[in-house]
Amino acid sequence: MRTRTAVALMPDAIVLDSGAVIGYSRGSRETLLAIHGANRRKYQLYVPPGVITQTLRGGGRDTPIFRLLASCVVPPVDFELARMAGRLLGDTDTTDVVDAQVAAQAIQLRPCILLTSDVADLRRLLGGYPSVMIHRA
């Protein structure tokens, strides 16, 4: 678990799911206030790779999403994260791989804020991790 004092260079984290990224491009005020706060308080935005697959479609509507992604860290899905995501699916008897990878990313970065349009599903996946704060995008 990451602690605030363990790594001086690592700012606090906000993980964005697909709903949060799309929310930005479509004018979600909840997403705006979260990223505005992140900017003011120097939090780092994280977007798991699966979210990029879910949100980019190769057309002009990608433009605002690219604008947001330019401010985000996109960490690789390594073996440990993939295994953790699989275990979360098994524990909750659910099947959404990207949601599970988003949840696993949040677990690796905790304590953190998770910005999502799918509070119920992410809460289910993260039931054992109270140091992830789930916020509706």
């Binding site: 606090d12 004018g27 705006l32 979260a34 900017n39 935005l45 140091s131 704060m133």
Partner: protein, 88 residues
Amino acid sequence: MAVKKISVSMPADVVDRAREAAGESGLSAFITTCVEQQLRSRNLRKAIDWFEETYGPITAEEEAKADRLFDSFEKGRYADEDGCRADA
């Protein structure tokens, strides 16, 4: 990833403090992380500017709401009207 070797000038005391902070990871990795963070921060500001130009500026009420969200996170109190603890 390609790596470029560059020469930069920095105040000596800044270099000393950076070396100390970098520790075993090394000065290059430390400075790379700092630069990446600075670039992402600038890009986030641009992303917010675009949003506000497109959808309207953030209001005082939204500013206050953002403060409450981050205050509750930093104080470990997640169960307000907007956020929820994952185990709630």
